[in-house]
């Protein structure tokens, strides 16, 4: 279902088109939900975006980080004298200097600590060792070469399986009482005994060792910050592309001992997040410390290799999985996971969920038993793990379950869609409580799966596959049906660092009837300036062109936990709908006074309250606003003005789902995989703006192509990262991506104010297992191969074809 294309030459008003959304005005704006071009485009298409590196402040100086060439080494000495002698260098900061400020170590989101600058030793390749502040960025880079560090190299642990060997070197000897490389104790979900019973009675069992390799969200804009401490006022302004600015402000206040009311984080425009801009990075703390000490604004922007090697990576989950069937349907699943967290545990998870939401691994299926365990280890690699559109480890869970369903189908010798159809949770079973404690609110899985099959002509594809096979050609068909849980989350269950995962919204309707809504959520490209205006428009009947959306400035927006885990629509969207309804209710009270009647005698049609049975007598939102600010009698119990606040506590997560089918052709001589087709049918409930939803899906699918076929962060035995630039960390270009074919079903979320579920991460969840299943399907049909791990690049596919599949390093 493609986005409607405006027919050029036929539109009546080309001049309006030529403004491209300038001054917040977009042509053809629906008053409410619907296809709407974006208001924010106006500045971006003119090259007038305001990203972190665009920030210029008087007296601003530049920081650069010196980083360790070794993955594990003691620091013997650091000589900064030559760097300090450079005429353009203002300061060189090392751990010792930060210790006096109490900033040498910082807390992580997972209740661990992370070195801001390494003092005793370095624990991962390119770990931060010193911070140079210079008058310009080129000089800062020059000065790095002048710092002399002496290291004593130690053996590095790179393989998470070996991290818990008794003779493994201790990585976190900084932690009192730490005697091994266990980062967090084993966590489990499900009923182990019940699960064992189910397996004991099974007809068929499939066993696989699955690796979801380390990869990286790699937004096009790297991370960075301009920190500006004003010594006269004590005001710290931070310019920072940041997916969770309010939470960061609280953390900086605690860590740096600064008054929280004097800290302001301005995100401005962000060139992509995908989870990469959630953590607090050492560079940020250095920039802040630098600004405090130097009394000048300090800009620190990382380069691409720093981004790839040291910022929050994604995945790195080693999963031993078993799935069983009984009577032709899936009956049980058990999974044991080793999670490689790197040298510091900085995964972003709600407190009670150290393995995130991995236990949604039961997926879309009505199982009789399930059990999973997750154990996290330290290795000599950069910290991270929760990133890249992962919905808190749901990408790992979905990859696991969807690979296992195909594996089980293979062992049972049945069609993978047929097995799914027999095993899906049925519509009448919702709300459905899974074996691991999730309550899915709504769904009609069979309908979505059937639509995908129709769009793909699944039977035609299987016939074609047989014909090609007879010809010596390898074609693979991959299937995935995923259910995610997003929009964290209910305050009774979820907090991060003791902060409830609720979002707020503040709505003010001005005397002129135009409005401004301030959000907790912070866009990194998702179109919030448009879609959130549409949410308010839908509730109040004010044109989205007349609603300003304010976000990304912690001084001007309500507290929230940030934009990741597809939270925007489920949580901030919920808050926005609720606050708009509060305003509408207030408007009703005013209208009653204006119309000299009782509120219960009024009915609503978009944009006005009117007297039931006498529709000519009504008051538009505009006139109500004017009244509310005027010197007029007020309704009982209300103050003047037309505004409201809301903090939304979601009652549950939401559960978007989708059916994906992909088609690949594999060159038997070289192992090269060509992505021929990708069919994606998503059910994300009510779609506020279908154009935006489709764009989010396209982007996630492309990331899935990258993860499945080419993205990998790998290390040599000494712990050196081998993919430290875009020459070796490969992202898909337009030539690798197929023309994505999208379909939709709409099953509204029963508990969400708008019935929406969120969709930002769905495609990145569903695409990697779908494409991997396609490759393995092709290899299985042609050569009997049952498994390979991602990335399915030519060399690895060829090795798999020859029976030599190995997990990547």
């Amino acid at each position: 279902m493609a986005t409607t294309e405006t027919a050029p030459g036929k539109h009546p008003d080309w001049v309006a088109h030529a403004t491209g959304g300038a001054f917040g005005q977009v042509t053809d704006a629906p008053v409410g939900h619907g296809h709407m071009k974006r208001k924010e485009d106006a500045r971006f298409i003119r090259g007038l975006g305001n990203y972190c590196d665009d920030v210029r402040l008087p007296g601003m100086v530049h920081g650069a980080l010196l980083r360790s060439p070794y993955a594990h080494a003691k620091i013997v000495s650091i000589d900064t004298s030559a760097a300090l002698a450079h005429p353009k260098v203002a300061a060189v900061v090392i751990a010792k200097d930060l210790e006096t400020l109490g900033l040498a170590w910082m807390p992580t989101i997972s209740y661990d600590t992370q070195a801001v600058l390494a003092g005793d030793k370095v624990r991962f390749h390119l770990q931060e060792v010193a911070f140079v502040i210079a008058l310009d960025a080129y000089s800062a880079q020059d000065a790095l070469q002048l710092i002399d560090v002496e290291y004593e190299v130690l053996p590095a642990i790179v393989n998470c399986r070996k991290a818990l060997d008794p003779d493994a070197p201790l990585i976190r000897d900084d932690k009192v009482g730490q005697t091994d490389n266990l980062a967090s104790p084993e966590w489990e979900a499900g009923d182990r005994m019940q699960c064992d019973r189910v397996f004991a009675e099974a007809d068929t069992v499939a066993v696989r060792d699955l690796l979801y390799p380390r990869c990286h969200p790699s937004p096009m804009e790297t991370c960075g910050m301009v920190a500006d401490m004003n010594p006269a006022t004590g005001q710290l302004n931070i310019y920072n592309g940041n997916q969770a600015p309010h939470a960061h402000r609280t953390v900086y206040a605690q860590v740096a001992g600064l008054p929280e009311q004097n800290i302001r984080i301005l995100c401005n425009d962000i060139g992509g997040g995908f989870g990469n801009k959630v953590p607090v990075y050492p560079g940020y703390v250095c920039a802040i410390a630098g600004s405090i000490v130097a009394g000048a604004p300090v800009k620190w922007i990382e380069d691409r290799s720093e981004n790839l090697v040291t910022t929050g990576f994604a995945r790195d989950y080693l999963m031993h999985a078993e799935m069983c069937s009984k009577g032709g349907r899936i009956s049980g699943l058990r999974v044991n996971v080793i999670a490689d967290h790197g040298a510091f545990d900085s995964t972003a998870q709600p407190t009670k969920f150290p393995a995130g939401f991995f236990h949604i691994v039961t997926g879309s299926y009505d199982l009789d038993g399930a059990h999973c365990t997750v154990k996290a280890v330290y290795t000599n690699k950069a910290p991270g793990g929760v990133a890249y559109r992962c919905s808190f480890r749901i990408t790992e869970a979905i990859y696991c379950v969807e690979r296992m369903v195909d594996a089980l189908a293979m062992e049972m010798n049945v069609d993978p869609i047929e097995l799914r159809m027999k095993s899906f949770i049925r519509p009448e079973q919702f709300p459905y409580e899974t074996q691991t404690g999730w309550v899915y609110d709504s769904g009609d899985y069979h309908k979505t799966m059937k639509l995908a099959m129709e769009m793909a002509d699944y039977e035609g594809l299987r016939r074609e596959q047989q014909e090609k096979l007879a010809n010596g050609e390898i074609m693979g068909i991959g299937v995935t049906f995923f259910t995610e849980g997003v929009g964290a989350g209910p305050r009774r269950h979820m907090d991060i660092l003791g902060l409830a995962m609720n979002d707020g919204a503040e709505l003010r309707v001005h005397p002129s009837g135009k409005a401004v809504v301030s959000l907790s959520a912070q866009t990194q490209g998702q179109g919030h300036e448009t879609t959130f205006a549409q949410i308010v428009a839908e509730e109040l009947g004010i044109s989205p062109n007349d609603i300003m959306v304010r976000h990304g400035d912690t001084d001007k927006t309500p507290y929230g936990l940030g934009t990741y885990g597809s939270r925007s629509t489920p949580v901030s969207g919920g808050a926005t709908a609720v606050v708009a309804r509060k305003v509408r209710d207030k408007a009703r009270a005013f209208a009653a006074v204006m119309l000299e009647t009782r509120p219960e005698d009024l009915a609503w049609e978009k944009g006005r309250w009117y007297v039931k049975g006498d529709p000519e007598r009504g008051a538009s939102i505009e006139s109500i606003a004017e009244y509310a600010y005027g010197p007029n009698p007020l309704p009982e119990g209300l103050e003047g003005g037309l505004d409201a606040n809301a903090v939304y506590d979601p009652p549950n997560l939401t559960y978007p789902y989708g059916a994906y089918i992909s088609v690949v052709d594999i060159d038997p001589g070289t192992g090269k995989v060509h992505m021929r087709r990708f069919i994606a049918v998503d059910d994300c409930g009510v779609r506020i703006n279908p154009m935006i939803v489709e764009g989010q899906i396209h982007g996630g699918l492309a990331e899935g192509v990258g993860i499945a076929l080419m993205e990998l962060i790998s290390f040599d035995e000494q712990g050196n990262c081998l993919n430290s630039s875009f020459m070796d960390y490969l992202l898909p270009t337009a030539l690798e991506c197929p023309w994505f074919e999208l379909g939709e079903t709409v099953t509204p979320c029963p508990h969400h104010p708008i019935g929406a579920k969120g969709v930002g991460e769905s495609a990145c969840n569903g695409a990697p297992p779908c494409i991997t299943n396609a490759v393995i399907d092709g290899l299985h049909k042609a050569k009997g191969i049952k498994h390979m791990d991602m990335p399915c690049n030519p060399a690895r596919v060829w090795a798999a074809m020859n029976g030599n599949a190995q997990p990547p390093q």
């Binding site: 030459g9 305001n50 937004p219 380069d303 396209h698 994505f740």
Partner: protein, 163 residues
């Protein structure tokens, strides 16, 4: 070293180090922030500008090399009176951008493709994909970028037809 060049029809002249990269001349000296950068190894195409009408990775070019040439950045696409170039309109119409970071490079590349193609309304999907393959986008999956470029080509052909 004095380096002068013409950017979007305006002459700039600054004393800079010989090693200064063109992308930094544009951003720091000409103070045009619409051109971005995204990598260290000339792979991402975020920094693409036009030099004498042809796309160029400005991070892989010294400012000194641009002396005597005409540089066009995203800021030079619209007319002096603010009327947008059809390529800009196309990206807006067809949702060809999300975070906007790769957009300037993609738009100038699209502009070049339409200008050099003998028959822009007949551009194939593959031709467009290939033309933009020197640039990376993480947000859009490229579908809508292709549609945006096609829209611009169709708009121009229509506008020409109506005159």
């Amino acid at each position: 070293m004095l380096v002068s060049m013409s950017i979007n029809g305006q002459t700039y002249s600054h004393d800079v180090e010989p090693r200064l990269l063109l992308v930094h001349y544009i951003r720091e000296y000409a103070e045009l922030h619409g051109t971005h950068w995204g990598c260290d190894t000339s792979n991402c195409g975020i920094c693409v500008v036009l030099m004498d009408g042809e796309p160029l990775k400005s991070c892989t070019t010294l400012a000194a090399m641009a002396k005597g040439h005409e540089i066009t950045t995203v800021e030079g696409l619209a007319k002096a009176d603010g009327t947008l170039d059809p390529i800009q309109m196309g990206f807006h119409e067809m949702h060809g951008l999300q975070c906007g970071f790769c957009t300037p490079g993609m738009m100038v590349t699209g502009r070049w493709l339409i200008d050099k193609h003998p028959n822009p309304t007949q551009m194939t999907e593959h031709e467009i994909r290939e033309a933009i393959s020197g640039g990376l986008c993480r947000c859009t999956g490229y579908n809508n970028i292709i549609k945006s470029i096609r829209w611009a080509a169709a708009y121009e052909a229509n506008a020409a037809g109506r005159r």
